[in-house]
Amino acid sequence: MSLLAEMNQKALKLGVPLSVHFDITYRCNERCVHCYLDHDDHGEMTTAEITDVLAQLADAGVFFLSLSGGEVLMRRDFFEIVERARQLLFNVKVKTNGVMIHEKEAARLRQLGVEQIQISVYSHRPEVHDAITKLPGSLKRTIRAIRFLKSQGLKVTIANVLMAGNFADQPGVIALARDLGVAYTLDPTITPKMDGDRSILALRIPGSELKQVFHNPELVGDVEEFCAPPPAPGEDIMEGFPCSAGHTGCYISPYGDVFPCVQFPLPSGNVRRQKFLDIWRHSSQLKEVRSIRAKDLTVCSGCAHVGTCTRCPGLAYMEGSMRGPSTADCEKSFQRTGIPSANMLRRTRADFAAPLIQIQSFASSTGNQPFSGEDSILPC
C-alpha cells in the first residue's frame, strides 16, 4: 500500500476530511457546451468568508485542497486566497482554463508553491476546442499559459473531457501534452446540469468509442488486466464504501454550500450558517452517505461488477437514488469487460415486459427531437 493510500485509510478511520474541492466562483470566461454550472453570481462568498473557511478546513485536517470553478482567475482576490491557503500549508491544486494566465500569474503560482495546475484542453485543433469553449482564440491562450507554467517548473496536467464532438481528436491532445511536456488525463464523464437539466448528457461519447478508450494501452496500460472480468466479490467488498465522497472528502460551493462531492448535489449544510466541522461531523445527509455499504446498493449489490465498478453515488443520486445504479458507470463496466451490469440486464428485461408499441399523440409530446434523449447513447 502506498503512503498516500495509508494516510487515506487513516483519515477514513479517524473521520478526517483529507480532501476538499472548493469552487471559489461559478463565473467563467468560457461557455463550454458540456458545463453543468450556472455562471451567474448569486452571492459568492467574500474574501474574508473564504479565508475563514480555509482556516476551518485546516483545523479539520484537510490536506489536499483543489481550488476550482468556474474560472478561478475571474476572482480578483484569487492570489490572496491561494496565498492564505499556502500559509495554512494546504497542498493546493488549481483547476483553470489558463486563458488569464500570463508570465506574471505563472510566476506567482510558482512563488506561492501551488503543487499542481490542471488545465482543460478539448482538442489540439482551435476550431474544435474553441467551438466547445465558445471563446474564440481560447486554445491558443490556453497553450500559451501551459508554456508559461512549464517555464516556471510547475506541474501541469491537461484534462481532456471526451465528448462525441471531440473524441476523434483525443490522440492529438495526447501528442500536444507530450510536446508540451505535461501530464495527460482523460475523463469521459458528462454530468447533468445543476438545475437538473439532463440535455447535455447527449454529448456523452457512445459506448463503442468508450470501448476504444478502455482498450487503448496508451491510456490504460495493461489492457488485459484493465479489462479483465470482475472477480467474485468477497465480504470485504460488500462491507466496503462505494467511494470517498463524504468519507474523506467533500465539496464546497462559492455560496458556502457543502456537498459530499462536486458530482453529488446533496445539500449537506452551509458554512455561512454553521462551522465546517459541525457540518462534517453532524450533517444527517453526510451521515446517510457514510452509512451506505456495497451490500446496501439496491441493484449493484447483486451485480458482477460490484467490486470493480467506478459507480459514482452522485450520478446515481442524480438518477434518482444514492443507493441505486449509475447508468453511465454501468456502461463503462460493460464496455471495459463486455459483461453487462445487473442494471442493464434488469432494464433489458423491463423493456421486454413493457408493451411493444406505445402510441402518443404528437400534440401531447413535450419535445421535438425524439432522438436527443440522454439515454439514446446507452444500450440499456
Binding site: G61, V62, F63, L89, N91, G113
Partner: protein
C-alpha cells in the same frame, strides 16, 4: 552538549526550520508532508513529528531532543540525538527542512 554526566562532546549546534516549499498536516499524531517542488510525499512517525513541529529555526536541535523527545518518549538521549541528526540530514537533502549552525533568523539577516 552533555552526553552522559561529566562528559562533554564538542559538536556544532544545529538549528532547523521547516521549508516554505511544503504542504503539511498532522493526522492522528503523525505529520504528513508533501514537497511542492517535486511532489515527494513523506509521513513522519510520532518522534519525527515532534522534531518537525519544534523546528522553529531558533531552538537548537539538542534542546529539541532533550525537551521534546527524551522527555516525551522513553528513549536514551544519545540514541535520540543520533536519530534526530539522521532525520534532519535526510529531510534537508530533500529540501524540506532547512539546517544552519546559527539561528535561522540570524542566518537570513546575515545574507
Amino acid at each position: 552538549m552533555l552526553d552522559t554526566p561529566g562528559r562533554q562532546i564538542e559538536m556544532a549546534e544545529k538549528y532547523i526550520s521547516r521549508s516554505s516549499e511544503i504542504a503539511s498536516r498532522l493526522l492522528g499524531g503523525e505529520v504528513m508532508i508533501m514537497s511542492t517542488a517535486d511532489s515527494t510525499f513523506f509521513t513522519l512517525n510520532e518522534v519525527a513529528s515532534a522534531i518537525w513541529q519544534a523546528a522553529d529555526g531558533c531552538t537548537p536541535l539538542s534542546e529539541i531532543v532533550a525537551d521534546k523527545i527524551c522527555r516525551e518518549f522513553d528513549v536514551d538521549r544519545e540514541q535520540a540525538q543520533r536519530g534526530a541528526e539522521r532525520f534532519v540530514d535526510e529531510l534537508s537533502q530533500h529540501g524540506i527542512l532547512l539546517v544552519s549552525d546559527q539561528p535561522l533568523w540570524l542566518a537570513v539577516e546575515s545574507q
